[in-house]
């Protein structure tokens, strides 16, 4: 085969800069082959190399007594006691999902599942965090239906429950949606598998689907560049998934891991065969040689370049113990899956591949990993930020009808019930779902013990756009708060950092601020970052998305029976607000939805106060003092009260409350002050809870009591909860259909 000549222009076409190309030539001491150029371009892409983010990510706290594995592996691992570990990660699949929403989202789910089960964990819960453009945007309904369909189509079929998540709409995502997928699995602590290639002579085995031509350059040209009007042409770079193959691949791999046959195993994700083999060799401080002629293919005529870069789904790479090849093949044969030896581990520290007897790739592994470019890109505060942070409340007229304001807030796509979304997901399979979607946190039980795990995914990107430091800190705090009010002790998080083009100083500034905000909150709340990913270049025609550092937090509850849900339950229960309300309307949903202003600074966050609130919630939940507890978030006190009245899966209940304070009424009702929760408590338990609140020096106020059929806030509104629920429940579907 005639080799394709490589020059600077071709390198540019691969997304490499002139400097980077010269660095390749220097490293190799010669011009790269066409295949080598492809390998460098994907391994040095932003998506695989983290070249703009690496040095900042080191600022995040990543250790702790329960942390068994921090960032750097396929997923993070937390010791949850009883010999068990929680293995989890969140990852983006933004660019493919915008181009081809169904398959983009579906393969996002498939990819994150593989990152988890490759470590020996059976996946038991998935969540997702989705961001779409304005609901009125002509493309939004199509994207929402495609993405939700893809998540359900893949997740339901593969047999892992989708137990929660979040969905937000903002015009800032009109040209770039976000699809962040999270999976958690459970593994025995003594049988955790890592993605390493060690032991010279050990066979490298390819399992799963055959390699096709799909997804070539997904990592480099799709995920590491901005979009423009030609982005539709990138559709062939989107992979197509097969959940049935994934389903049996999970069973086969977990069954393989019961035996002592392998050294390491890794999913072939972004940059496929290349990145999986290079990363495994790097971790094992070894070399690897692959014979590309042996790679199973879907069709004839696939070139070695395509074999190296294909992102065909449902493929795994295994380094087995020498002599165990046949035993490995037998395991996969049980499930009618192919397992083929395609190479071996070497001592030379090189990534080498052969094709028809000829060596076409010969690159030092370190050149593709630790020695890959890393940049400290310039960062500068956006010039218009100070102006955007101003909000003149005196110029803002007070509403005349507070009931109407509440109703319109509850029917905005951001605050409306997400039932239309989650009823398309199987949230029950696996038989562990204690709290199904619709409460502050998803709760799953562990069959092996009395324990439970809580998971919450959060980020308010409007806050982050207006103050990335505070916004990111609030994302961490809110995620932890959602767990704490549910009775779950926060332990660790996985982050999905979605930003625009890092080559722009303003975007880089947002990124660094967000990292520092996350770090402060993680340190204060004693939560470690154990895994995650960075997604840059979420831009179209030069317009970046709002910074969106999504946080997926996992916590433990020692007795799952002590879980708390957000909805009011018993007439006669007292309603208590924990925390304090300040006059904070900046960056609120109220300002955006009612006054069409996305401005002001997000609410203040006092991390010490936050920590005390969460500790009180945990202790009260453990003592069984809460009938319900609900984080006060977007839409403020009025929305939180309404949600507690109408979000019970099967019924509604009313309340009679009185709000005091000399704040503007709209700030009192709809302001989003942090570190607050609305709890309900049986009158008999109130003294005990009150004592706990006093001991903790946590401000609180008794608002009223549960009962009746109306949501009654004295002096402001009286609304029938059944009608409110009906509007809240159907709003999203209606707007998607009629948009």
């Amino acid at each position: 085969m005639a080799s394709i000549p490589v020059d600077l222009q071709l390198a540019h076409d691969h997304g490499l800069s002139t400097d980077e190309y010269e660095r390749i030539v220097r490293t190799l001491g010669r011009s790269p082959t066409f295949e080598e150029l492809g390998v460098f371009s994907v391994m040095w892409s932003e998506h695989c190399s983290y070249k703009s983010s690496r040095r900042f990510l080191r600022r995040l706290p990543t250790t702790g007594p329960a942390i068994l594995q921090g960032p750097g592996e396929n997923a993070g691992i937390v010791d949850i006691g009883d010999g068990l570990a929680a293995v989890f990660k969140i990852e983006s699949h933004n660019h493919p999902s915008f181009i081809e929403p169904y398959h983009g989202a579906a393969t996002g789910v498939g990819g994150i599942l593989r990152d988890v089960f490759t470590m020996g964990a059976r996946p038991i819960a998935s969540l997702n965090s989705l961001r779409f453009g304005a609901i009125e945007h002509p493309r939004t309904p199509h994207l929402v239906k495609g993405v939700v369909g893809g998540i359900g189509g893949y997740g339901n079929s593969v047999g892992v429950p989708t137990v929660g998540g979040e969905v937000y709409f903002n015009p800032g995502y009109n040209g770039n949606i976000l699809v962040n997928a999270f999976t958690l699995g459970i593994a025995p602590t003594d049988r955790i598998f890592r993605a390493t290639a060690a032991g010279v002579g050990n066979p490298v085995i390819y399992v799963g689907s055959r390699t096709g031509r799909d997804g070539i350059h997904g990592a480099s040209l799709l995920a590491s560049r901005e979009f423009d009007d030609k982005s539709e042409d990138l559709r062939p770079a989107v992979q197509v998934g097969d959940p049935f193959i994934e389903n049996i691949l999970i069973e086969a791999c977990l069954s393989l891991m019961q035996q002592d046959l392998i050294i390491g195993i890794q999913d072939m994700g972004a940059a496929g065969l290349t990145s999986s083999s290079v990363e495994m060799a790097d971790r094992g401080k070894a070399g690897i040689v692959l014979d590309l002629d042996t790679v199973p293919t879907r069709e004839t005529g696939i070139t070695p370049y395509e074999l190296l870069l294909s992102e065909s789904q449902e493929r795994m790479l295994i380094v087995a113990k020498e002599g165990c090849e046949e035993a490995v093949k037998d395991v996969f044969a049980t499930w009618d899956l192919q397992a083929v030896v395609i190479g071996e581990v070497t001592a030379d520290g090189l990534f080498r591949t052969t094709w028809r007897g000829e060596e076409i790739v010969r690159i030092p592994v370190s050149a593709l990993t630790s020695q890959a470019p890393a940049y400290e890109r310039p960062a500068s505060r956006p010039a218009d930020l100070t102006a955007k942070q101003q909000v003149d409340l005196s110029a803002l007229p007070l509403p005349t009808d507070y009931a109407a304001v509440l109703t319109s807030l509850l029917t905005t796509p951001n605050l409306a019930s997400k039932e239309w979304v989650y009823r398309q997901y199987d949230f029950l399979v696996g038989g562990n779902t204690v709290v199904q979607p619709g409460s502050d946190a998803a709760i799953i039980r562990l069959k092996e013990s009395n324990k439970g795990l809580g998971i919450s995914v959060d980020c308010n990107s409007r806050y982050c756009a207006l103050d990335p430091y505070r916004g990111a800190a609030i994302a961490v705090a809110e995620s932890a708060r959602n767990l704490a009010v549910s009775g779950v002790r926060p332990v660790a998080l996985s982050d999905c950092l979605n930003f625009g083009n890092p080559e722009k100083p303003e975007v880089m500034w947002q990124f660094v601020q967000a990292i520092d905000g996350m770090r402060a909150a993680c340190q204060a709340l004693e939560v470690a970052v154990v895994s995650g990913n960075v997604s840059f270049y979420n831009e179209t025609d030069g317009q970046a998305i709002p910074p969106t550092p999504t946080v997926a937090m996992v916590g433990i509850m020692d007795a799952v029976t002590h879980h708390v849900t957000q909805w009011f339950k018993h007439p006669g229960d007292l309603i208590v607000l924990l925390g304090e309300t300040h006059e904070e309307l900046g960056a609120s949903e109220y300002l955006a939805a009612l006054h069409h202003q996305e401005c002001g600074r997000p609410p203040r966050l006092d991390l010490e106060r936050e920590k005390r609130l969460q500790q009180v919630c945990l202790r009260a939940a453990q003592a069984g003092l809460f009938s319900s507890a609900h984080d006060v978030a977007e839409g403020g006190l009025a929305v939180a009260l309404a949600e507690a009245c109408i979000s019970h899966p099967r019924q509604t209940v009313g309340v009679r409350v009185t709000l005091t304070g000399d704040l503007r009424p709209d700030a009192l009702l709809f302001g989003e002050s942090q570190s607050r929760a609305i709890v309900s408590v049986r009158p008999a338990d109130w003294d005990q809870l009150k004592a706990l609140l006093h001991t903790s020096r946590l401000p609180f106020s008794v608002l009223g009591e549960v009962g009746g059929t109306d949501l009654e806030i004295a002096g402001y509104m009286k609304i029938a909860t059944a009608a409110l629920r009906q509007q809240w429940q159907t709003a999203l579907a209606q707007q998607l259909t009629h948009a």
Partner: protein, 226 residues
Amino acid sequence: MKWGVVTFPGSNDDRDSVYCLERVLGQEAISLWHKDRDLHGVEAIVLPGGFSYGDYLRCGAVARFSPVMSSVMAFARAGGPVLGMCNGFQILCESGLLPGALVRNRSLSFICEWVAVRVETTRTRFTARCAAGECLSLPIKHGEGCYVADEATLKALQDNEQIVFRYVNQAGEALESANPNGAVQNIAGVTNTSGNVVGLMPHPEHAVEALLGGEDGRKLFRSAFG
């Protein structure tokens, strides 16, 4: 009682069914592999939910030809109790053990939610310990659960008391508004003429623990061994 739960490639609720039978209901339960014709002496068989063989071609259409199914069919024809849930129901219809068919939900979307179903007959191996007209709270989770049958079949089902469950509202009425998937006459489950084979779209195996939302599903399994 010794139960067998069939695992096809792509089955998802097979482990949940074994857990329900063994750990919750104290039964003996084993997995039956789709390639194995040997039923290993089981006294009752569960065809679980999921996406057997990816549900490619048509739900249950490939599973129906798997080696284990020839034994299951013989077992059923000899009067052995067989319960098909969700994909298991689809497989029973495809294999001719139950009349009718299951097609895409009227909404064209997958639906996961808790529903109420009314027990229409207690003359089956899986409803004997229910009360006629009793309402059970069970979850559904399917994309193709809309039961259809031709007029003659429907009449025969009616005449022979073969309709086992109907979707109902909280008041126990089989109204169109309580029909989640468009099933004809709100039918959620049917039986064969002898009452030993029952198929239903809801998942009784996911309704056996109060912690997870309810225990009504236990009655179906208890009917078989009680």
